[in-house]
Symmetry: C2
Subunit: 255 residues, 2 copies
Amino acid sequence: MTTLILVPAPLDFGCEAQAPITDVLPLATLQIASSITHWIAENAKSCRAVIKRIGEHMPLAAPLQQHIITELPREVHKKGDHAGAFDAKPFLQEAIKKAVASGVQSIGLISEAGMPAVADPGSSIVRAAHALSLSVQPLVGPSSLLLALAASGQNGQNFAFVGYLPIDAAERMQRIRALEAVAKKTGQTQLFIEVPHRNTALWQALLASLQPSTYLSFASGLSLPNAQIRSATVADWKHRAAPDAGLPCVMAVGV
Amino acid sequence: MTTLILVPAPLDFGCEAQAPITDVLPLATLQIASSITHWIAENAKSCRAVIKRIGEHMPLAAPLQQHIITELPREVHKKGDHAGAFDAKPFLQEAIKKAVASGVQSIGLISEAGMPAVADPGSSIVRAAHALSLSVQPLVGPSSLLLALAASGQNGQNFAFVGYLPIDAAERMQRIRALEAVAKKTGQTQLFIEVPHRNTALWQALLASLQPSTYLSFASGLSLPNAQIRSATVADWKHRAAPDAGLPCVMAVGV
């Protein structure tokens, strides 16, 4: 039986300084990942970089240049896994055909950072794997969402991750208030992410829109030496320096 | 400055067969955890078991019997971190006082399985750490929620974890339908957990309450050799054997 293996990637994608991959991927993950030669990747270049780093600690099943890496189509990146017209089933079947022709029983799914298919594309491939009765094996590795949530001091027994907030200022404010209302009503922590160049604008919008008693948490550089993890009420944040916002970050709003 | 270190535990708590801890905790996690001698734990016995397993691979900063382990009070287990009258600040200050008296700068927070403060008690301690201006450092390790979500093939760009569903049959059915309605309206995957002896009843209630087109996923034994990971529409599930439900599991409902 063919297996789709979900391979987590380090969180230092695009960062200047990188720690050894053994710092964030446990031994079983490294061993199983080093046996994979056929991949479906968010991005082929970053996939190759991870394979290379694994190869520094484990013998690879094949030299890097012999790995077969198929990129997820642009459409999935743009519209998400389950919204557009992308049909993951024939896409995965084609990848399986190539793998089986090489006598290989496993295909790796990998994104640029963290767990594939979580806050990243790939879930349509996993769904197709179940539909084709493949075995699905998720490997242990880092997830910025989970690290941020655990470190936030906010409710971790009821939480939601809602992706990116709107860019338009009025829509963003409306969305922030809607998330706060859910948190106040149900106690559910609301996590979201932002790209570095919009962090400051989002932070200002959060301080301007949220009620003083609401908790607001910020985490960037998770699993890295320059990690910034802060959590306080909005009232407290107004007396403090805003977090340094040069890196991808996870934010959380809650009661 | 004192640091509160969030130490993930393996997911095989209470399981008969256990894999080496190096399979699920990366090197940096093992190294940092092996330096900790003062702990706040969900359960002292399972905390000792994890320390012992770490000690098989890394020299411990102190022999196991010299570790100071403070259990979270019963109230937090029963009522949750932010609901009852538990005041985490003096509790943490007392633990810090003991640690500092021993010349120690770090306190570990650990639960029985997976990430502390995520689907487990501990977030009040993390919140108190921020209030006391401690540094908070989450270490990379396994999380059954994230592994289950990634492997479900359901939307991982918008998801919620809602804890346990009600035990009462009528309330449970109402809650299942409410979760399905949120998933249908917003595309947000709804994750929840159950204890082994209620898995079968919950599964039957899910099949009886959900619409045929709704996706329903089941994962147990994550990170273990006997992992069961299945995902299909409710219509498909009705023609299949129910998953073997003897282990703690994560379920997900979505579109």
